[in-house]
Amino acid sequence: MMAVEEFIQAVALAPRVRLEGAGTKATFMKAAPQDCLTISTQSISGIVSVSPGDQMVTVWAGTLVSHLQQELATHGQALPLLDPNEFGKELAGCPGTVGGLLAANLPSGLSSQHGEPRDWLLHADVLFRGQQAQCGAKVVKNVAGYDVHKFLCGTWGQMAPFLQVTLKTCPIRALKGTSAVRLRAAALPVWILRTLPTLFDRVLEGAEGLVAHDRASCTLWSDVRPPTPEEGWIIGPAGQAWSDNLQPGLTRAAKLVFDPEDRWQ
């Protein structure tokens, strides 16, 4: 049996599941409930295909980002992320596995030029109510159907987990330098804040425990919860989040539709 089929079966047997990739971002999430089984996605890993001419890579969700970057580099391509060894985990977007990278969709020190993981996701095979389903297309441009794969980025594995994904890669030659400033090393989780350019300086002045900041994307990373800006958002440890426009009603509706059994914790 293929690894993915075994994975789907293992998941189906457990009524409550916490998916874990490399575990790098576990502390950003609420602790999993007692009755919940933690299942690793690293059993579904590996690179399926790399096409530098098409700027695309297809990869299983449990693949380590570090491994993928090494492989892509041999083709002159990369995911537009900074190297965590050089710039620190937070400015590198806290990378673990590819699935985790998309599920969290955290900003990085290259966000202002290259966007977030959601922007690079072209196609996904997901586990939707026990079935393998696909959305998007394996091309750099596509408008067929609703972009469910993009919606799923930033849902922290709570709606329909990624199994296999196709991402747009960036030629290493086209990667620009970062404008982000790293002040010191820090352990994850950190607080991450983003606001408007006109509010950023004030927020930066008032912030304590600063770890890094990037004026170009108006993002800061810190050890201490930063002051809440008039507009923007904050992500913090243990599932703490604030945004000027959360839509709890629609988000609950989405959870009910995508995960009616409340399997994903």
């Binding site: 098409d54 959601r118 109510r129 441009k141 067929a144 993009k150 995508f258």
Partner: protein, 469 residues
Amino acid sequence: MVAGLSEVLSPSQVLAGSATHRTYDCDAYTVDRSAPTCVVLPESTEEVQAIVRWCNESSVPFTPRGAGTGLSGGAMPALGGVVVSTKKMSRILEVDLPNRCLLAQAGAVNIRLSQAAAPAGLHFAPDPSSQTVSTLGGNINENSGGPHTLKYGVTAQHVLQATMVGCSGEIVVLGSRVANGPESSLLSLIVGSEGTLGIVTEAWVRLTPLPKHVATALVAFPDSSSATQAVVAILEEGVVPAALEMMDFNIMQALRTAFGLEFPEEAGALLLVECDGEEPVNDELDSVLAVCRASGAIDVRVAQDEEERAKLWTARKKGIGAMGRLAPTIVTHDGVIPRTRLPEMLAYVYEKASEIGVGVANLFHAGDGNLHPCFYFDDRVPGTIEKVVAAGEEILRKCLELGGSVTGEHGIGVEKAGVWGHSLSPADRDLQMAVRDVFGVSGLCNPCKVLPDQKGCVEHVKRWRGAAT
């Protein structure tokens, strides 16, 4: 219906009558048609809400419409009812230059957004070729692209927040002026939803700095195969130009005939290349041109100033207009493939055209692998339109076979609901339908589009086809 809606709005905002029916029975995809009972012209989010509530109470289908330049029948009122036009919602409400964003009503014309930001050196990056008429609401709902999408991304990357009247009349605000927050991206579901999840009434969009340096070249190749090979080689080289557009021999012929444009005699295809950036981009263009020469380019013209640049772009911009000179009818298709498969795909397109005995010209976003085969023929010749439609579907199936998609920018609409629907597994389809459940879609909001599931769509497919011939 007219009386009922005239109470909700003012009578001058409700149009009916045979001229209205004719004007609004299709968009720029004219093969299928279906007339509305009436057309309403709201001016605000609240008026849109009142209309949608009235439609729900009266069980009348409603279809949002911008400028009607859509190319897959998305704004056609498939089951009749009300067309909700955003024509009178064209205001730019706020320009926030320091924060590089702008708030406009859904009916604002694309180009006006860039014009409003131009004095500050900014622009709205999505640049569909229809940008002088198509609206923000249409661009959002089709997730439109343009020649500069290769570098700047499609509309999705440039929309921050949208206000929408949902299918049952509730007002929702999705996204934030500060992008990419900790929530799931409901906004990602709205962008590209073809008006099936509600009516977008206004949106905050991102403004992007105009590049300080631009370098443009028009490169001639002996044939389309060497031109497409150059496209792949350029991107393999690691250069991402701002635009990389291709025109084939028949487009060149059309441009020669219609506008007297001159190209090298032995040229079989042209590539328009543009590089841009904050720093001078001459080196970047040079490496692109070196790759072109290595791929067999026979002539290179580099724009020396703004006037010459505009001239080089005429070949791209006037291409489709020129097509009208070749034959009475043109039908443009839209498909995407991984760009490395372009040579194979183009060969297939030429083969199909010659098989059914019509002409085909190709003018397209080569860098994105986004093909627009444009068939030209005389639709008065019996049976031709059917053959063209069938060939179009075969081309789309070939796109899927090569790992691509049935649409890169024109959308599914009514045109591709069949072809695309058949390519989905039951689980894929369920995943798509889940989106409608999230938004509580009722069946009245732009019925029979994308994934037709309303009663009556099947009979209507036949009737539309009937109306076309």
